[in-house]
Symmetry: C2
Subunit: 244 residues, 2 copies
DNA sequence: CGGATGCTTGATGTATCTCAAGACGTGTGG
DNA sequence: CCACACGTCTTGAGATACATCAAGCATCCG
């Protein structure tokens, strides 16, 4: 369970507001998305499966989900996290077949939104479209950043980078305090996202604690020294494209 | 040098035609893009640099380029290849700052297209927009596929996967024959794209040759047995989203 | 001819994976 | 209420895949 139990459209509004100033009219337009059915999903279940034909847009309200791909022999790579307030695949419904799966990492709640319903919101407030496309490009940027991390950074640098990224992303949707955030996923999830074995991920976490970079227990991540963590990670936040 | 010396808009037309049937009117509309200045770039030079403010759209005509990110200490990760006929960042000009660099891997030639010029083409043939967005989503899918490769596949599987992907992508733009394609980049580039050291990449290539999967010399890659290569790579081409 | 670029090979060290087991907490059914 | 299964985190031991360092060779080009 996340701390935010029923924030509805608020995280999304905050998210889009990072890219351009939004008005009250934008908020009310977005609120129309809450008309869709509110769905529940248990932890460790799929929300959508590779190969399916996507017909709805999903807006995550609470809990964490992920985009992942798996190989026939069971190996699995998480390619992105979905945080509350984020869409699972805005555009994907124009494709005929999903090329990846979407899974719930914790218990989740999300709205299912019909494409037409979505279109109505855009028609009403066209400037929201720009903010949404912007967010899509940020999503691409995140993918690239992960690729660099997995391809070039050491496990310690990699985890540091991920934690800094999550810190900023969660702050954007109002889910991080000044010192840290709720990290409701397991070490195994972190391993699958970072291309590491569970054992080695665990040892890397211990090293980070030993180095005084973070504290982590009871699903609470506390960042001891953000600047140092960013230096270790060689973090450059330009790919998150915050305008203000 | 690639085999295709001056194909102009043709590779792009073939590329978009993979997503939906196009008409002659679409081709002539696209031909307007050739009005922009035709630029040249040498191998191992940057076309655009991280941090710059992008103002033009670039359409690659000949040669190979790449999207890459580098770390302060010199490590570099290639996150995608640009093949002839592909755009370097269609949407990116609405962002204020590039979050990655674009580099020429071989000698390249490309058109620089003004956003307005591009808009005119879309206005003239609105259906092209859908094909272009489709391609953007394929690009995202490729990023995800690379993430899975680097995160989960062994070097041998990873290289196999890349070669199969390149084979299909090059066939799409008319640059692959039934048995292989021109691979004008260095082993160092392949290493940087796959998150491997040059030495290990070299030995992996030798293993692939020994296994009878490929032949590679003089920048010519020959695929001996495509089905077997796909099996080794656990290749599922759904992420390329060809409609036909 | 000398320098740059790219490919190849050998030797060595170590980072990371794999296998295996134990501890702890939580929920569940008998 | 206890026994048990399950999920999660942790630790140890051993094997190996991969990086690093170093050198040699070929080709091309000014």
């Amino acid at each position: 369970m996340t701390t935010l139990t029923d924030a509805g459209i608020e995280p999304l509004f905050r998210l889009l507001g990072r890219y351009m100033p939004l008005e009250q009219a934008d908020r009310t337009a977005l609120a129309a998305l809450e008309a869709g059915p509110l769905c529940h999903g248990d932890a460790r279940t799929d929300i959508a499966r590779e190969g399916e034909n996507p017909t709805v847009i999903r807006l995550l309200v609470s809990g964490w989900a992920c985009r992942y791909k798996d190989l026939p022999d069971g190996r699995r790579q998480i390619v992105d996290f979905f945080l509350p307030g984020e869409f699972c695949d805005l555009n994907i419904y124009i494709l005929s077949e999903l090329d990846h799966s979407i899974g719930a990492l914790t218990a989740v709640r999300y709205y299912e939104i019909q494409p037409q319903q979505f279109q109505d919101v855009i028609d009403q407030r066209p400037r929201l479209l720009r903010a949404l496309l912007w967010h899509e490009m940020v999503t691409s940027g995140i993918q690239r950043a992960w690729l660099v991390s997995i391809g070039q950074r050491s496990p310690l640098e990699r985890l540091s980078h991920l934690f800094v990224e999550l810190y900023y992303r969660l702050k954007t949707v109002g889910l991080a305090t000044g010192t840290g955030f709720d990290l409701p996923i397991t070490q195994n999830h972190l391993a699958e996202a970072n291309g590491l074995s569970l054992v080695h991920l665990n040892r890397t976490l211990q090293e980070m604690r030993r180095e005084g970079l973070i504290e982590l227990s009871d699903r609470q991540l506390k960042i001891i020294d953000l600047d140092r963590l960013k230096r270790v990670a060689m973090f450059n936040g330009n790919y998150l494209h915050f305008n203000r």
